[in-house]
Amino acid sequence: MNSLFSQEVPLSWYLLLSAALFSLGIVGFLIKRNLITMFMSIELMLNGVNLSFVTFAHQWHAVKGQIFVFFVMVVAAAEAAVGLAIIIAIFRTRATLAVDRVDLMKL
């Protein structure tokens, strides 16, 4: 028991989790039709990338990777604000969130 928790988690496990999260995000983005779900998929991809940043920062004892993560989180927060606003605007004008039906610039 003790040995299981005191042991370091190997690097590859983190990376596999990160890749899995990122791939899930891509697949979700590609197959989902709802704008909000696609938006969440993007967040998932960002977090997958964040995870690998943190992993390598831990591995190399370098703080740069963690700083990057903060940047990504800040941008993601801003993007979430703008993106949700856009989604609301789209829903108001078109009464749909199906991305296939939002394929024209004009109404």
Binding site: I26, F29, L30, I31, R33, V99, D100, V102, D103, L104
Partner: protein, 650 residues
Amino acid sequence: MTAHLHLWLIPLLPFAGFLLNGILGRRLPKSLVTTVALAAPLAAFGVVLNAALGAFGIVSSAASLPVIETCPLPWINAGVLHVDFSFVLDQLSLVMLLVVTGIGFVIHVYSVGYMDDDAGYARYFSYLNLFLFFMSVLVLAGNALVMFVGWEGVGLASYLLIGFYFQKKSAADAGKKAFIVNRIGDVGFLFAMFLLVANFGTLTFTEISTKLGQDPGWQGGVVTVIALCLMLGAAGKSAQLPLYIWLPDAMEGPTPVSALIHAATMVTAGVYMVARTHVLFDHSPFALGVVAIIGAATALFAATIALVQNDIKRVLAYSTISQLGYMFMACGVAAYSAAIFHLVTHSFFKALLFLAAGSVIHAIGGEQDLRKMGGLRKKLPVTFWTMTAAVFAIAGFFPFAGFFSKDAILYAAFLQGTSGKVLWFVGLLTALLTSFYIFRLWYMAFMGESRSPDVHAHESPWSMRGPLVILALLSVCGGWIGLERFGSFLAPSVGARAAEGGSVHLELILSIVAVAVALEGWLIADKLYRRKPARPAQWAAALPGGYKLLVNKYFVDEFYGATVVKPLLAFSRYFLEWVVDVGILGGAAWLLGGVATFAGAILQHWQSGNLRSYAAWLAAGAAAVLLFLLVPWATVLATLPAIHLGMAGH
């Protein structure tokens, strides 16, 4: 170089006038436009006069000619070639500047009256100022390239002013004709410049003459080619054979323009240029001979055409061509100071002739046909008397200005051996014709009874009469300075005339002969147009062929039309338009467009507007890049043949 003459002000003042009137003229009140238009040339004339007073020694001045002013910034600096924007004021350019700005200002004043009721008043004066700008650049130029700037510029101003009444097709055509014919001459000037750079490595006039002076080996050969190229340029600008055809048509412009540009100043640029580059001509007897022959031939040729023209301005136009021929004849016998002397006196009396003709035209409501004039002596006294002064001056009567300069040219020609005698005789014959046609004009316009009695002629306003009087005084007195003094003043610029075998006695005899010939011309004109007015028509009927030839100006325009213009038009219409333009260029454009359209037709399917397909392509692209980067292709490819061989080995 110690005193500052501010030469750059001379061109720049008219340029400022051009900008002001050209940009704001329409919105400014007319009085302000007039003030600007007159102040600019007057101020430029003042600067020139200031320089002249110093040069003539009237006021003490530290400046001694030549004065060189160079723009501190280099203009062209390419390899061996250095060209600065430099102005040179020497005796030659000083005399020219006095003529250009002085006569120019007088004609500006005249224009105020002449163009008074014209809608394009401000436009007219801005062009006129622009012309003065370029002309003073041309005259002041210290090297051939700066001169070329002015040379092209006066061509532009001339084009704008000939086509001033551009609504009239004939005026627009005449402007184009002048421009295009001048381009032919400019090719000569350009080639001369190329050759100068190639052979001398410089375009500065003083350096060229220094190099020519250092090495006696410069004789004939390439110098002849350069001189002939320059002569081609001069023939274009100064309306000599075979490029004279634009000048008669240039009479479509307003009459003061004809006086300023197409008689007094711009057309003399060719003579000026030959005088400026005279060292080149001095080193090529052949080129000098060509200049003399072209000059003499043009003088006689144009004078014969002038005999029968009925448009008052056309008579004067051909007379201008003829007189320019005299100047080139003088250049051809290396009597450059005589050429410049005639240039100056000619600018006085020819400007006056044109302005007086303009006054006549103005007075009788735009009529230019001599046959409809007559009897204007009493109605237009000032115009008549000033015109008379100009008529006597151009005919060469003592003591009018034309006598001295024409006499100087004939005398210089006479001294040049046997061929010089021929030139002299041609000149004399031309003098006879000149005297005849100018008195014909005089009789037809002013004497006898009016042939259009219903036209109420009225004398012009004082802004027009004043210039006439000034120019009349100059036409009478302008020659009194005499060639001796004039030549010795110019000698530092154009070299002293080396006349052998001349004597006062011979000169006196030649002068008497010349005046007798002029008198003869007057008498013939008097007989034909006063005493027996029916005679000219009878003669014309008796010699239908000759008369037709002259009235139609030897069919030169038609000849050029058939041999040059038509083939060129056909060439551009059928070859350039259909083969080159539509076929090659158009084809290439269509091909490019077709490729783009075709590619677009295929690629447009990519742009489906479907967000998820874009995302899929993006992901696929990223995957491809990853694949490319991660897979060690070198090793993979290296193992492939081995697998293949291993399979084959089984």
